[in-house]
């Protein structure tokens, strides 16, 4: 049992300078972990199953191309649903790109900053199933081009069987991972250059 996933992924040892530094923001540290717990050890699977959570997480971590973190979430998925792992890896390679990018809506003042990029569609939706294929497409949108999100993005999820509450949790899960992965990346570099 890993007590603190960010410490684990960033390689922070008890008593180290980064351990002491994280202790200065105790509520942020505790509740980043509680966010992880709420999303990955939920009280109910009614709106979104554990397999769906782990599959989306393995996809999102893979898109960030952060090897240790991608492995962590792939291992979680492998424990629960090893058959999905190859499908997720295939989708990660189909979705690989660099962001953020996206077209600003309408003809307004931000149009000059619009930046076209990949609008990922699941490569092999049959391997994922309808709900998960839609979830991956939404997760890719959130990771790389969140400024392009619109009502129609949520309509696509609804057509694939996602409830409003399921969409909220799915969105939280993807968005939380973009936070967790960045904290880990940042702390690793801070650790490498630590002066104290």
């Amino acid at each position: 049992m890993i007590a603190d996933v960010i410490d684990h992924l960033a390689g922070i040892q008890p008593g180290s300078s980064l351990d002491r530094l994280r202790a200065r923001r105790p509520a942020a540290r505790e509740h980043a972990q509680r966010s992880y717990d709420a999303l990955f050890s939920p009280e109910t699977e009614e709106e979104i199953t554990l397999v769906e959570r782990d599959a989306v997480a393995a996809f999102v971590a893979g898109l960030h191309d952060a090897p240790g973190i991608a492995r962590f979430y792939a291992d979680r998925l492998a424990e629960l649903s090893p058959g999905l792992l190859a499908a997720v890896e295939s989708e990660v390679s189909a979705g690989a790109t660099t962001g953020p990018y996206g077209v600003y809506p309408g003809e307004g003042p931000l149009s000059v900053e619009s930046d076209e990029g990949l609008r990922y569609r699941a490569r092999r939706p049959g391997d994922l199933g309808v709900r998960l294929a839609a979830a991956f497409e939404h997760a890719h949108l959130l990771v790389f081009r969140p400024r392009e999100a619109g009502r129609e993005s949520l309509d696509a999820l609804a057509r694939a069987g996602w409830s409003a509450t399921g969409v909220v949790t799915l969105s939280q899960l993807v968005a939380f991972l973009t936070f967790q992965i960045r904290v880990v990346a940042g702390l690793r570099h801070l650790q490498n250059g630590a002066t104290s």
């Binding site: 923001r25 960030h64 953020p100 931000l110």
Partner: protein, 191 residues
Amino acid sequence: MTQLAFTRDQLGWEPWLTPLETDELTDEHYEALVDKARAKSPYFLLLARDPATLQARTRTDNDIFYNADGGLPRAGRELAATATSRRNGCVFCASVHARFAAHYSKRADDVQRLLDEGVNAPQDGEWQAIIDASVALAATPAEFGANHVEALRAAGLDDLAISDVIHAAAFFNWANRLMLSLGEPVEEPAS
């Protein structure tokens, strides 16, 4: 959809999914909202559909931005939130945190230049280092590296302050994605 420019004006936000109604709220929901005033916000009432995650999210947020035990002053944390929102394209988040950044720094012109011209607009050394670090953290895959840590240190930030930049910027990657994908900003403040 109307398109708004980046602004420090007060904006409203309208959800695309149905938030909970106030009369549906249980003690668990109020605990998740943390601050009772948030029971009037359509954004938090929508997130309250998953109360356990909302509560943990909000307490993470509050400590990253409000914990005043050393580290980076509030203005710098708000600057990181604004720069992240500017880079990701979240007009609503940027409006809120640009107001905070301008208020705490008393540097409204510099904040406005970040909104008007973007993350590449010239800024002084410390602000440049915070904005550059935030932009690198907004990238997928992450572009944040030892050079950003060195630049922040050269600008006078200690390790706790650098950690605050990392957490504030990382947190807004979370916040921007929810605000951008679950609803949209509107010109009139929602009453």
